[in-house]
Symmetry: C2
Subunit: 223 residues, 2 copies
Amino acid sequence: MMNIGLLIFPDIDQLDVTGPFEVLSRIPGAAMHILWKKLEPVRDIHGLILTPTMLSADCPRLDVLVIPGGPGQEALMEDKEIIDFVSARASEARIVLSVCTGALICGAAGLLVGKTATTHWASINLLKYFGAKPVNRRVVISGNLISCAGVTSGIDGALVAASQLVGEKQAKIIQLAIEYNPKPPFNCGNILTAPRSITVPARKLFATVSAKRLKTARRLRRC
Amino acid sequence: MMNIGLLIFPDIDQLDVTGPFEVLSRIPGAAMHILWKKLEPVRDIHGLILTPTMLSADCPRLDVLVIPGGPGQEALMEDKEIIDFVSARASEARIVLSVCTGALICGAAGLLVGKTATTHWASINLLKYFGAKPVNRRVVISGNLISCAGVTSGIDGALVAASQLVGEKQAKIIQLAIEYNPKPPFNCGNILTAPRSITVPARKLFATVSAKRLKTARRLRRC
């Protein structure tokens, strides 16, 4: 059996965790644990209700630890119980998969020191405060850390994780089972190549939370 | 305000609904309703707990109705309360978005008659029983029906829906916000182009449920 733990929390961005869940839960023999420090449901930033299946304090040794992001990551970065949990379980895990601003939680737990990593484009400037070298790639592998860019990239990262865990053939079967043959209707999912008419309003959407994250990163900096 | 209703049910395939939720919940003014005929949580096929926010019987007139799939779609196809609900709300909605085998629920509700449509590759042979002309495309628009292929395609389809609802610029901003710039690690998400070494075991995974779905489709056929 393979123990796969996925952290959830209030104000998570739900696809950060449901994307990897979709991929990793199809690994034969995977035991999926949705983890939080309480057993009550949490709401994602847009109101989707997610429910833990196990207390983080009760979870077994994990083969894979998935750390998603979303605005709620801010509160977690200064939550000693969670940071201790992430740090302890990450040190035992074969793979830590961070998605979106989940990388900042990993940063607060000291997991980024000396690593290359990525995160959502609106937060990639913050990785340096946690000792990571930022890389503008969708999925970055560095030691046991697989870090993914924003939100949807968790699907790509989880397929990379699956191939490390159970081999390329099994990962490919999963990809076909979930028909992951993406055809975005527009070509503007990348901040470096999207037109200014899209990047300017998109950056505005993140202005407030990015300013808050910068303050937190400076306060908790590890280098 | 725009009312967006997303049906959930026991043994749903969770990404069919969480993918579109991620996109559509970012539409300014969207009111998201997670609908089921009871308010108790349901479990997806791999154990993720999803919780309705509203009884389907109580939901307001919908601008968008999202119908996801997964093995639990079988039971819904002969559930008069749900089929009546889908049929009634679909007739008022600007857009019906079917994802994966959600198309078969739409079929049972009579929504596919005379339409072009798609669904998961393991079920696309069943669309003809419901009067639809199957199309091997990731997203198919036919009248007010936007049908999507398997699981992950709901993200592409929801972006198409968003562009119809609030314009291309807003849809592009959403695409950038969720960094939807997919880079699948392997090239095998399409049943028509994946190698036999992957399609053969993938088809085996679906053999039992596909046989069951064929029986149901023949029993409920509309043409």
